[in-house]
Point group: C2
Amino acid sequence: MAWPPFDSPCLTPPPGDAVPLGPCAHCQVRHLAICSALTHEEMHALDAVAGVQLLGPGAVLARQGEPRKHVFTVTRGALRLVRLSADGRRQVAGFALPGDFVGLSGAPVHQHDVEALAETELCRFGTDAMARLGVQFPQLQAKLLERACTELDSAREQMMALARMNPTERMADFLLKLAAQQARAGNAGRSISLPMPRADIADHLGLTVETVSRCLTGLRSRGLIALPETYRVEILDFAGLEALNAA
Amino acid sequence: MAWPPFDSPCLTPPPGDAVPLGPCAHCQVRHLAICSALTHEEMHALDAVAGVQLLGPGAVLARQGEPRKHVFTVTRGALRLVRLSADGRRQVAGFALPGDFVGLSGAPVHQHDVEALAETELCRFGTDAMARLGVQFPQLQAKLLERACTELDSAREQMMALARMNPTERMADFLLKLAAQQARAGNAGRSISLPMPRADIADHLGLTVETVSRCLTGLRSRGLIALPETYRVEILDFAGLEALNAA
DNA sequence: CGCTATCTTGACGCGAGTCAATAGTGGTGG
DNA sequence: CCACCACTATTGACTCGCGTCAAGATAGCG
C-alpha cells in the first residue's frame, strides 16, 4: 500500500508563550489544542497524565466497538475516522489534523475506526484521568465542551453538504475547508496537501472515487484549481469555488 | 397553516425522586434532561436562573445568525432546527423533543432557525449564567459535555445515513429513531406520532416530499408499517425495518 | 361549501452510480 | 538499471433511481 505523502505542517507557537516542563514543553500545537489558555497548574496536571504515541502510515489507533479508554490530541500527521456498516458501506466521518482533538463521544465504545494517514504523533490521555481533571479544573472541561460544540457545528454543516449539495459543490466545499484548516495550522499559500487517497474523499462526501475524480477534473478544466500532483491541489480561484457552494 | 397534531408525551418522573422548589418542582423531564443527577445545591442554582418560555405552533425561537443568548431544555412539544442556504436549499438538522437540550454550539450566533412544531414549553437559561454555573458546578458541565458528545455521535450517524443509505433505508432509520426517542420519553407501543410535516422529514433526510411519500407507501405495502393517520405511524415489523438499514 | 395547503400518485428525464478499460505511480526483484 | 507487478487514479459508456413536473386526492378552516 502506497500512502499519500504528507508534510505535516511545522507549527510554531506564538513567541512569548510561557512553556511548561514535561512532554508539553515542546508541543507545537498548544495554541491550537485544548491545552491553550490553561493555567500553569492545569497544564502541569494535564502534563502528568499525558503520554506520547506514534503511529506509522496505515496504523490503527482504535477500532469501532472497542472500549474507549483514551482521548488524543493530534500533534503531527493526520488521521481518518471511518465507520463501516455490516454490508461494507463505508463512511469517513472526518479527518483529524494537528491541533485536533480525537475521541469525543458519548458512548463507552469507539464509534469509528481511527487510522493514521501518515506518520502521526499523538498526545494521549486516559478517559478516566480526563474526566477527573475535568471536574477538578472547570476551565479545562469548558475547553472540551467548546471543542465538542465546534465539532457538532461542523458535523451539522457536513450534513447539509451531504444532503443538499451536488458532487461538484461538495468537492469545492471540502477543498475550501481543508485549505482553511491548513491555513489555520500555519500552512499559508493556495497549495494544499491531500493527505488522504481519493477513496477517503469519496467516502467522506458520499460519492464514488470515479465521481471525485471527475469533479476534480471538472474544477481544473474550469480554471478553479490546479492539480500539480495527485495529492496536492492549488486553489486558483478562491471566489469561484466559494460561489459554487453558495450557502 | 395547519400543523400536525402532537400529543406531547405526558412524562412521569420516577417516584421517590427528591423534588426541589421553584419552576423545576413540577418539571416532567428532569429524569431525561441535564438536570438529572444534580445535587440539591446545583438544582437550586440552576433553578434560580431558569425561566419558562411558551411557543405556539410555528413560533420562531431563534433565527440563523442571531446572537445566541440562551440555551433551552424542551419540557413539552417539539422543535425543528432548520438551516437555509442563500439559494433556498433547506436542511433540517434535527428535531428536539421533551428532555432534549437545545442551543449547544461553538459559535456566538445561532447556526439554525429554531421553530416550534406544536405548542411547546421550554426551560430557558442564559448562556452567560450557564457558563458561570458550569465552572461553579463541574458535574453540571460534565452533563453538558456528555450531552454534546451524544449529539455529536448522532449527528455523525446521520451523516452515514445521508451519505450511504437509499431513501427507503433512511426512512426506516428515521422511524426507528423516532420510535426509540418516544419510547424513552414514556410513549410505549408501536404507534408513533410524526409531529412534523412531510417536507420537514424530506429536508431532514435529504429527499423530496414526493420521495418521502413514496417510501412510506412502499413500507406500508410491504407490511412493515401502517399509516392510520397522516401524522401517525404504526410499526408492524420492527425487525423488518431494522433489516433495511443493516448498519 | 369552497378555498388553500398538504399529501399522494403518475410520467418523464437527467445525473451520479456501475462496470470496464486505460493510464499513472511506487515498490520489488531479477 | 530496468522490467514487472500491484495499486490507485482517470476516463468512457451505459443504466437506473430519484428529482422534477404535473395532476388528483385529502384535510383543515373560514
